[in-house]
């Protein structure tokens, strides 16, 4: 470690991105070796049998991800905004909401909503006969509610920082041109805030993806559920977990790639 690497790192950042440097080749070889030996030495005969179940699990996980992040984000905007610019009772409310949700594990929230609330609800007379009953008795609505609530709290915190971080001067410039409050919000505050925190939101989305397996504990058969089924039925211990990890890596890669794409559409910060 020389002085000058320190300097070079700060200046060059990621100047040379060559994948063909010798040590990379060696690393890739080691990696390939691991993969090949995993394929050879481990047991993969169960994969074809479950492939359609896995595909369905991926689809279900993605649907839950998109819906919960989408709705959660929509909720997060007012949650973040009122904390920055809202009247204090609303700001307090949003603050407590965000603190409570972020202060307790998602697993606990899922259980409270499904086993706790869900077992209290049916005891109210009339509910079983209502048109909503077919949904209330399913597990996925509870999962979705818990995920949306969770995402809205985390993203709300991100958006709070984002709104607060937009330089006041730019908002004032908007007002100085006679923009109405709504126009300032729509044209400047919101897009500017979002463009600043796209990477962070990307990170939150990955976290959400990784939180989804917990819904398997309330009987929603997501991707993780499919694999625990595989494990229970075949009694193969590690192989399903490894494949599952691989699939999650791919999904994460896709999410990260998507956010990179959006980021490239917005101007850099520096």
């Amino acid at each position: 470690m020389s002085n000058d690497t320190v300097a070079a790192l700060h200046f060059r950042n990621t100047g040379s991105k060559g994948c063909v440097r010798p040590h990379r080749i060696a690393l890739v070889c080691v990696g390939m070796l691991l993969v090949v030996s995993a394929i050879w030495l481990m047991q993969w005969d169960w994969v074809p049998k479950y492939s359609s179940a896995i595909a369905y699990g991926v689809w279900l996980t993605l649907v839950m991800l998109v819906v919960s992040c989408g709705l959660g984000f929509v909720l997060s905007v007012p949650i973040g905004l009122v904390q920055v610019a809202g009247p204090w009772p609303l700001a307090r409310l949003a603050r407590s909401y965000s603190n409570i949700i972020r202060g307790t594990p998602l697993l606990l929230q899922l259980w409270i909503i499904y086993y706790g609330l869900g077992s209290v609800l049916p005891r109210y007379p009339g509910i079983r006969g209502s048109v909503l009953w077919p949904y209330i008795r399913e597990a996925w609505p509870y999962a979705l509610v818990a995920l949306v609530v969770s995402f809205s709290a985390y993203a709300g915190e991100v958006m709070r920082g984002a709104f607060a971080g937009v330089p006041r001067g730019e908002l004032e410039a908007g007002r100085a041109f006679g923009m109405s409050r709504w126009t300032v919000f729509r044209r400047i505050w919101f897009p500017r805030a979002v463009s600043r925190v796209l990477p962070t939101l990307g990170g939150e989305t990955v976290l959400m993806l990784k939180g989804i397996p917990l819904v398997a504990t309330i009987t929603v058969p997501d991707l993780y559920g499919v694999f625990s089924k595989v494990r229970q039925e075949t009694f193969i211990i590690y192989e399903p977990l490894l494949l599952l990890a691989l699939i999650y890596c791919c999904l994460t890669g896709i999410i990260v790639g998507l956010f990179r794409f959006f980021e490239s559409k917005t101007p850099a910060r520096h």
Binding site: P167, E172, A173, A176, G178, M179, S180, I188, T266, A268
Partner: protein, 257 residues
Amino acid sequence: MNDKTDAIQVSEIRKSFGSIEVLKGISLSAREGDVVAVIGGSGSGKSTLLRCINMLELPNSGSVTIQGETIAMQDDGAGGIVPADRKQIERMRSRLAMVFQSFNLWQHMTVLENVIEAPIHVLGVKRDEAIFRAEELLRRVGLYEKRASYPAYLSGGQQQRAAIARALAVKPYAMLFDEPTSALDPELVGEVLMVIGDLVKEKRTMILVTHEMKFARNVASHVVFLANGNIVEQGPPEQIFEAPETDQLKRFISSIH
């Protein structure tokens, strides 16, 4: 000179932050085509005055009249005043264009988008037309080549020129400049002053806070010297710079080079 109407009239503006009174009853008027230069030490309240004129800062008392129309204010019930009609304020502001010391360009828009934003979304100009005019303005301030760049990639001087183009795009009735060159490298000051000099030749009404005394002297039709929230002296530039009356102004002028 008396046949010109008052473009901007500020009367008895007072403004406190907490217990500190920053403006202690300032009155000021600029007729059409006037260039009023506001000078004064750091912290004397120059920026605050400018910001009170377009109500980015609400004065505690006093009134502002633009082009004969007084901004309606009402008591806020706590000893201060608040605008009575937000729509009026928005309309007024769209007639005054402000150029900030720190540019305040919208970082998420290209230079061109910055310039067409207010015409389209405030004045309701059609997009094509706004672009046409914006390109003309950018050519004029020498930024046509940079129209597709984001502000972060421009030098300070270029950013300031973009901010001026953005201000001009709303065809403002009057312009407010807050130290348009103080955030710039000495080498970039020149180009911005040149652009402002052009505007002066066009006889645009302007209120200009500046540290560049030489420039103020050359372009201003009227100079106002602010100290401790009061107008200590005002008059034509020759008088202010060559025959300062008060000690305060004399000290101030000698301290600047």
